[in-house]
């Protein structure tokens, strides 16, 4: 029960952003995707979420190819996603923001409440923010709400795009703790975290993927020779 990506290529605006990506994301792991700015981390997550269509390649989950499925079915398949730029709905309260993906899946009210409880247990700082408007959050607060929202539906995969960006150390630490706690409480869950600041990860990950210029590998040596230092144009 894991997600296999096979020789996936993604083009954006005429440029190839991800090249020949073949990775698998096994359940129960916390996978860190590290790479510099512009390496393609965000694009990788967006492709997994179906928000960009790969030019070629396969994405297999339980034997079915996700590439062929519309993006909005990912949530039903247990994918939670926290985008890099947060995107909290300003017209809804924080509580409504968090509950929304479950409501969309027609999760029963009681179950939603339970899930909120579970999330709050991992992120107690969120509690006082629940009744506030989604429009009024600071940068870091938005990050946390986005994480919480992803956890609400992410029963199998939680994809977090630079979750530590802009978090104060105190929160980053709590955030790391929450993620670790999550691994305890949901042993089957696969958490994917992209991060340009590997130092912030502080060992939450159990597996690290390196990404550079659209190539993904489990260790930096695996890249095609010399390309990491190569010049500007491909």
């Amino acid at each position: 029960m894991s997600l296999h990506i096979e020789s996936m290529r993604v083009d954006l605006g005429g440029n190839t952003v991800l090249r020949n990506v073949s990775i698998s994301l096994p359940g129960g792991e916390t996978v860190a995707v590290v790479g510099r700015n512009g390496a393609g981390k965000t694009t990788l997550l967006r492709s997994i979420m179906g928000l960009v269509k790969p030019a070629s390649g396969l994405m297999l989950l339980d034997g079915r190819d996700l590439c062929a499925e519309p993006a909005h079915l990912r949530a039903a398949a247990g994918f939670g996603y926290a985008p890099e730029d947060r995107v909290i709905f300003p017209a809804l309260s924080v509580a409504q923001n968090i509950a929304l993906p479950c409501e969309v899946q027609r999760v029963p009210r009681r179950e939603i409440e339970q899930r909120v409880e579970a999330v709050l247990a991992a992120m107690p700082q969120l509690k006082p923010m629940l009744p506030r408007s989604g429009a009024a959050l600071s940068g870091g607060q938005g990050k946390m709400v986005a994480l919480a929202r992803a956890l609400m539906v992410g029963t199998r995969f939680v994809l977090l795009d630079e979750p530590f960006q802009g978090l104060a150390p105190v929160l980053a630490r709590q955030y790391g703790d929450s993620l670790r706690a999550l691994r305890q409480s949901h042993p089957q869950l696969c958490v994917v975290i992209t991060e340009s600041n590997a130092s912030l990860l502080d060992g939450v990950q159990s597996l690290t993927l390196f990404i550079e210029r659209g190539y993904v590998a489990t260790d930096q040596q695996a890249w095609p020779k010399g390309h990491a230092q190569s010049g500007e144009s491909e």
Partner: protein, 301 residues
């Protein structure tokens, strides 16, 4: 201008306001969801009116009862408007959804031209109306003046019911929150499991039905000719801008303001009658730059 005339003006104004509101409702909905002013909304109105009038005209010689006529009137409009709205979304808007809003607006403009032409091909250039239906519902005496029951009770009634219904839908239902999410950020809404395309389709169908019902409600009172669409849609632009884009309560209040202002103008400065909606809009926007009601905007910096 005495109190008597003032009251009469208020009655006229309110019934006009109800109609205006019905038309503005669908427009403001689409504007809220897609951030696009749907110029083709005028065509929903026109098609609704024309087709409802056709069906009523067909039923009339067949001795249909008033209730049947009314149901047919509204039913036809809902059907025609819903289908038209859905077709517009599926056939056109979807293909342009990632484009600049200005281009999307122009797409609706193009759709408007095409529909305007189709309408002329289907119903010709001669005036159409369903006055018989209004006559059948009888009259009512108010302040010494005879009014049509249809105009005084029916239209405002349906407008209020639509208002309440839509308000519930948006405020208290998941569908409403889905809509809000798609409005704000399509991609993230999709990632949260919302079928943005479906939401779009349903919204357009609903807006189309509302616009068409507006037309159907109008056709027993007013005359439909080519060009109604353009005139009506531009007035409802004024309503939704006065209201605050996507604001349903705002649209209600703005319609009433505009309806009253227009009726008053007819009694005092008839020259100003036609400009009233726009003057109202300019005045309101001067005082409140984003309309009577505004949505919370996301923090950007």
């Amino acid at each position: 201008m005495n109190l008597h005339l003032l009251l009469l003006a208020a009655v006229d104004g309110l019934s006009y306001a109800s109609l205006l509101f019905m038309i503005a409702l669908g427009l403001t909905l689409i504007c809220g969801v897609f951030g696009v002013i749907n110029v083709a909304h005028g065509s929903f109105y026109a098609f609704g009116g024309y087709s409802a009038a056709t069906v009523v005209a067909w039923l009339l010689p067949r001795d249909a009862s008033t209730a049947v006529l009314l149901l047919a009137l509204l039913g036809t409009a809902v059907l025609v408007g819903g289908v038209l709205g859905a077709a517009l979304e599926k056939g056109l808007m979807r293909r342009f959804q990632d484009r600049d809003p200005v281009l999307q607006l122009l797409v609706t403009f193009a759709a408007f031209m095409i529909l305007e032409n189709l309408q002329r091909m289907i119903w010709g250039a001669t005036p159409v109306n369903a006055g018989e239906l209004a006559s059948r519902m009888g009259t009512i005496e108010l302040l010494g003046v005879t009014f049509m029951k249809y105009q005084l009770l029916m239209v405002p009634g349906i407008a209020l019911v639509s208002f309440a219904g839509l308000q519930c839908l948006l405020r208290y239902s998941v569908a409403g929150r889905k809509l809000v999410a798609v409005i704000h950020h399509r991609e993230v809404a999709t990632a949260l499991g919302i079928d943005a395309a479906r939401v779009g389709l349903m919204t357009f169908a609903l807006a189309g039905a509302l616009g068409a019902v507006g037309g159907a409600l109008a056709v027993p009172m007013t005359t439909f000719v080519p060009g109604v669409a353009a005139d009506m849609v531009v007035t409802s632009f004024a309503v939704i801008a006065t209201a605050g884009l996507g604001q349903i309560t705002g649209a209600l209040i703005a319609s009433i303001l505009i309806g009253l202002a227009r009726a008053l103008a007819i009694y005092t400065f008839p020259e100003l009658e036609v400009v009233m909606p726009y003057l109202m809009m300019v005045v309101v926007l001067l005082l409140r730059p984003s309309g009577l009601f505004t949505v919370a905007a996301a923090r950007r910096i």
